[in-house]
């Protein structure tokens, strides 16, 4: 039984400029202890998908319009608020991209780390503080016992992220959703945080969904990867297959754009065109306007994910038909 099974998730934002179809028909599943990467550009819907799972979307203007997210028999999208709150922070935790804005600047770090313990495990304060100090040490913050009394702005970026991780994992959740946790950090710190999460994941057996726009980060950590574009999943496979045997033009274009993989001195490859305006309906494949392999059928056909190889799905019509090899 998968730990998490998402089916046909649909989330939209009703703004004064129109209805933005942020997430359309997203389905995937996650096994216990599995590491899954979700990759895509800004606006691809990767973050909104995961916020929707925990119903953290601001509900106006956002609205989860359909779908199911079964977590251990409970549909996260339609369960009661009490059930949801019991799961948030205890069985499913989340860490966010910018630890400076995601931590409460008015409260000491200690207050914030012990909070999940107070809410869910009903520990008394002293016990909770002890556990919190231990948690801080586990994430590699030196002098944890003193520093825990500090405020978030007294930490460096990397340290703040460690605090967030400690806070998220202190209840030993079954699933950790990490929304681009290393994007806002220096490259060297990125590597450290990645290592830390990898180690903790291994020790605790927590399933992890890692959201990123950076294929490279995901490559070193996630066993499976989803690629999203314009609110839909366009390819899903083991990370190795995603890299070695891309089956969707967008995936291939993303890999071509990785600066480190390009020839020195040559002009940097960028994907031509711009991401689509999600407030307008997109007939056919959303990537077609920018795709070097696009044909007429791509612009009007019924687009959906189909298995094109063992455990490897793609939404590219032409690949599904066998016409195209990437």
């Amino acid at each position: 039984m998968p730990l998490l099974e998402v089916q046909n998730l649909r989330t939209r934002f009703h703004t004064r400029h129109g209805v933005v179809r942020a997430v359309q028909d997203v389905s995937f599943s996650l096994e216990k202890g599995e590491t899954l990467g979700i990759v895509g550009e800004s606006g691809s819907g990767k973050s909104v998908t995961c916020y929707s799972l925990l119903r953290l979307i601001p509900q106006p203007p956002g609205k989860i319009e359909g779908g199911q997210a079964m977590f251990d028999g409970v549909d996260l999208l339609s369960c009661s608020r009490e059930q949801l709150r019991a799961i948030r922070g205890k069985r499913v935790s989340m860490i966010f991209q910018d630890p400076m804005t995601s931590l409460n600047p008015y409260l000491r770090v200690e207050e914030q780390i012990i909070e999940p313990l107070l809410i869910h495990d009903r520990l008394d304060r002293t016990e909770a503080v002890k556990r919190a100090i231990q948690a801080l040490e586990d994430v590699g913050v030196p002098g944890a016992a003193q520093r825990i009394r500090s405020y978030p702005h007294e930490f460096s970026g990397g340290m703040r992220q460690r605090v967030m991780i400690a806070m998220a994992l202190i209840t030993r959740p079954e699933l950790l959703i990490a929304d681009e946790p290393t994007t806002a950090l220096d490259v060297t710190v990125q590597a450290q945080i990645l290592d830390l999460i990898r180690k903790l994941q291994h020790d605790l057996g927590t399933a992890v969904i890692w959201i990123s726009h950076d294929l490279g980060v995901v490559a070193g950590f996630c066993r499976r990867t989803l690629v999203m574009y314009a609110g839909r999943i366009v390819e899903t496979a083991s990370t190795e297959a995603i890299f070695k045997r891309p089956k969707h033009p967008y995936n291939r274009a993303l890999q071509k754009s990785i600066p480190a993989l390009q020839a020195k001195g040559a002009e940097l490859y960028t994907i031509p065109g711009l991401p689509p305006d999600l407030s307008k309906p997109l007939p056919g494949c959303a990537f077609a306007p920018r795709c070097e392999f696009a044909e007429d059928i791509c612009r009007s056909g019924d687009i959906g994910l189909k298995e094109v190889e063992a455990s490897h799905d793609s939404a590219c019509l032409r690949v599904q038909k066998g016409e195209l090899t990437i």
Binding site: R85, A86, R88, S102, Y106, P116, Y151
Partner: protein, 305 residues
């Protein structure tokens, strides 16, 4: 923290100094002022004035004397109340106004924050429109309209309170509501804005992601941040309440500093008026200081300037 308070305190001294200097020169310029011996009132007062201000001394000496006496808290003799010192007169009436001000501020903050925060929790709903509409109306009902209306309704028609006077505890109610009610409208709106702003911050999302109840989110996480604009507004509100007290003390016949000021101005009791202006200025400056200190206490990031 103490160092911050001390530093801020030092910053207030130049402001007070400037105001004192300005008032000194204003008084010198005024016909009929204490420096204009031709228009002096009664012989006793004239003698007192001469003694106090040293009217025969050169200007710069008068100035030094003046500042010196101010520092000691000596504001000179009253122009019209023979034998009375301005400082004594202020000391007599200030406690009354202070009491009124405290009640009014409490009313303003309580009604303002509660209604504003509640409105913020469900924007664009009934719990939002109702308090905000009342607030809008409240802003357009100034104290001198609201006060008499309250007297008319609760004092005369319903007979629950006295129409004026400051003797019983119940006499405090209508004046405090009049003075505080007006400013609660402003505080309500800024509390709402402050709370909405804080609730849209990322760390609120984090708190929810941890499974916190809305109660916890509002009280433990949002409140401190939401209160900041309210605290910032409190300083000018208190300053304006000084003005408001003139009106309210007149309407309800309260023997406070405001009424004193108005009477003194009518009588052209210049020393009393100037003394009061200086007193008010010092008071406002102190209040601003307190507001700043509270702000820093609320927001730890400001402590590390």
């Amino acid at each position: 923290m103490l160092r911050f308070i001390f530093k801020r305190f030092l910053q207030t001294i130049p402001v007070l100094f400037i105001i004192a200097t300005l008032t000194f020169f204003l008084m010198k310029m005024t016909k009929g002022g204490p420096f204009d011996t031709e228009k002096a009132t009664t012989p006793e007062i004239k003698k007192q004035l001469e003694a106090h201000y040293g009217l025969n001394k050169p200007v710069w000496e008068q100035y030094i004397d003046y500042i010196g006496k101010l520092i000691q808290g000596d504001l000179g003799p009253s122009f019209k109340y023979a034998g009375w010192n301005v400082t004594e007169l202020i000391a007599g009436a200030f406690p009354v106004s202070l009491e009124l001000g405290c009640y009014a501020l409490a009313v303003a903050l309580a009604i303002g924050m509660i209604s504003g925060f509640i409105a913020a929790l469900r924007p664009n709903s009934v719990t939002d429109y109702l308090p905000m509409s009342l607030a809008t109306i409240g802003i357009c009902l100034p104290t001198f309209v609201m006060g008499p209306l309250l007297i008319l309704t609760f004092g005369i028609a319903l007979g629950w309170f006295n129409s004026s006077g400051w003797f019983f505890l119940s006499d405090r109610v209508l004046p405090a509501l009049t003075l505080g009610g007006y400013y609660s409208a402003y505080i309500s709106r800024i509390a709402r804005t402050g709370m909405i702003e804080v609730l849209s911050q990322d760390f609120i999302r984090t708190a929810r992601a941890k499974g916190a109840t809305e109660w916890r989110v509002v009280f433990k996480h949002a409140l401190k941040g939401a209160m900041q604009p309210v605290v910032t507004l409190t300083a000018p509100v208190t300053a304006h309440m000084v003005t408001g007290s003139f009106v309210v003390e007149k309407i309800f016949d309260i023997p406070g500093l405001g009424r004193f000021f108005v009477t003194a101005a009518f009588n052209r009791d210049l020393t009393l008026v100037v003394g009061l202006v200086l007193f008010y200025a010092a008071l406002i400056v102190m209040l601003n200081l307190i507001a700043d200190v509270v702000l820093v206490w609320l927001n730890p990031r400001l402590r590390f300037e």
